[in-house]
């Protein structure tokens, strides 16, 4: 495990602010947002360019070249064209300085395990709390441990099963031609949950969805992906997908997020 390296003075970075730093010969983007510091690899996983020159908006940094957005707290890829998360690092603030410790990546000589819904190209990096780095011998006033929030990075499949959770899980299913998820495309007409009689605590899910056209060639794949995404939740006993063609899908069913992604304004 690498050591913490001092990268900047707290005063160097306004809030909100961003800074390119070098840690152990790696390029890292350091952020200061809402009182906390975050560090991620300064590499857009889409085209390998730097992120730090992009626009910082809340906890999101947008790649200046193609607009891929990443969560600075977790490194998660939030929008196309990036589909893989960039690496998030551990940060602490001590004695007025910001320290970064690189996390191991990419075990070089072994298979790399990817958390989250790898089948859909997204991996969810979960940050861990940094309580283990707090040195108890330091005066508490001088020691401020920055906890890297994990709220946004909890996989949907670990949420309590409810309609919203199902919709979150469905966001992992993407139209293979448009690369936009089926929820934002407006393909989901309804989600119904009902208790399973023979398996207490489990629920069966019925999803009413449509296709952008009746002869959609991606139909079977979308149905299979939908079943797999929702079926991954431990409390789901069965998933049924009902294809509904009436009312027909129209482009105005898309959310603004989908429009943005497709470049329709």
């Amino acid at each position: 495990m690498a050591d913490f390296v001092r990268v900047a003075a707290v005063s160097e970075l306004p809030d909100p602010g961003k800074l390119f730093v070098e840690v152990d010969d790696e390029m890292v983007a350091l952020f200061h947002v809402e009182g906390s510091f975050y560090a991620i690899d300064d590499v857009c996983t889409h085209d390998s360019g730097p992120l730090v020159d992009g626009e910082l908006n809340g906890f999101k940094i947008a790649c200046p070249r193609h607009g891929a957005k990443f969560d600075i707290r977790t490194g998660s890829a939030l929008t196309m064209p990036a589909v893989r998360s960039t690496r998030a690092h551990d940060v602490k603030v001590e004695n007025g300085s910001v320290w970064v410790r690189l996390r191991a990546v990419g075990v070089f000589d072994g298979p790399i395990s990817h958390a989250g819904a790898g089948a859909h190209g997204f991996e969810v990096t979960r940050s861990k709390m940094l309580t283990d780095v707090a040195d108890s011998s330091m005066p508490t006033a001088a020691l401020q441990t920055v906890a890297v929030s994990a709220a946004d990075s909890v996989p949907a499949s670990s949420l309590v099963l409810c309609e919203d959770a199902v919709r979150e899980m469905l966001k992992e299913v993407k139209d293979p031609e448009l690369f936009v998820n089926i929820v934002d495309l407006g393909l989901i007409y309804g989600v119904t949950l009902s208790p399973t009689l023979d398996a207490p605590g489990k629920q069966q899910v019925v999803i009413a969805m449509t296709m952008t056209s009746p002869a959609c060639p991606a139909g079977p794949q979308l149905i299979a992906d939908t079943k797999r995404a929702v079926g991954a939740h431990g409390d789901v006993s069965a998933v049924e997908v009902r294809i509904v063609m009436d009312p027909p899908w129209t482009p105005d069913r898309m959310t603004d997020a989908a429009r943005d992604q497709l470049g329709i304004f």
């Binding site: 070098e22 390029m27 390998s48 360019g49 070089f108 790399i112």
Partner: protein, 469 residues
Amino acid sequence: MSTATARVPTASSLFDRESLEQLLFASKSATDSLPTWVEERRRTAFERLQSLGMPGRQDENWMRTDLRLFKSQAWGPRPATAVNALLPEGLLATAIPAGDTTAEPFFEETPQAVVAPTLAGRMLSLDGHVRQVSLDPTLAQQGVLFGSAEQLLADHPEIFEPHWFSVIDSSVDWFAALHAAFHTASAVLYVPAGLRIAAPLHVLSAISPGGVDTSHVLVVLGADAEATVFTETAGGGSVGSLGGFHCGGTEIVVGPRALLRMVNLQNWNTGVWHFARQKAVVHEDARLQWTLGALGSRLSQVAQDVALVGRGAHAQVNGVMFTEGRQQLVYNTLQHHEAPECRSDLLYKGALQDRSRLVWRGMIKVDKCAQKTDGYQRNDTLMLSREARADSIPGLEIEADDVRCTHGATSGRVDDEQIFYAQSRGLSADEAARLVVAGFFQQVFDRITIVPVREALARAISSRIRRVS
């Protein structure tokens, strides 16, 4: 001073005016008379260097190269190391005397010189200082010029002045200008018209850890001449240390109907920054077989241009790359057809391990007059890990209307089923991976007709493959 003028931020380094004057002073004392044109070309390049900053991402050739960890101010000319300093060994240098050195036929329609089992000449340099020069005395009698540039440029301006830093464009970016101003330990070769040299000539540029190499290579083949030239690099520090810095250039002129086999092997340690600009000019009915091998360096940025300037010129370009760790290699190639009925054929193959990155951006440019052009370019990459990344960007720019130009690129991972099958036949996963990688490179090895070069590359790659993940 209140005049506000828009200025490009210039890059600072220890390659400054003072070190340029020291370099010129040293050259003048080393040779009887330093030709003024050599000095002037250095000074012109230096003025250009002063006006330039680091290449930025808005430049198409540099947009995939991250130079933020490159510290220009850390580098400058290095004093000569102790005479007894150990010279890092080259891969080709060790392969030549030991191996079977017969060359297989290349361009079969011509009579073939047999590559003799010894070297015709050798030049070794360490940290930008020449350590050893030798040339077969028979060849010297026949008019072959080979060795350290300074004296030969002074003695034979009629041969070298038209080409010296005229083939490559030294004004194009900071590194090109730096190289043209501060080149040292440069090698030149001239083969007179009609002379066919069977044995290869070898140039090894080495650095010690943290060292600097700015060597230049100029090869001029007269009409109907034939030669085989190996240039290679070795040494430097590994990643995490200061590493090393190479900023070099290669100029090649292949006279009418001449045949040149050129091999450049880049085998620095993994901490070395490598910047190189290489260009060959191929005249009518001349043939060039140019093989690039790249195994080392932390970051490489190489421009490799071939200009086919005479009717019927033919160039074959082979590239073999293997990257690992966090290496990043960027190649920009150009096959420029400036005359009719020329042929160019480029094949780059790369395998990537760990988190390494390989970028190839190739262009075939066909001028309006270059009818009946036959141009091909292909780049194949094999990813041995999930974290590796390869970018292949082929391009065509054609102004003539009667040409055949094609290109292709493939990239992929090792097929798990092939590994599984090999394991079912009693091979370990590692052995199976080596076999698959060897098979992948076979296509380009088949084109490298110089046996010891092919074997040295195959051995070096095989020893680097760890495990496919």
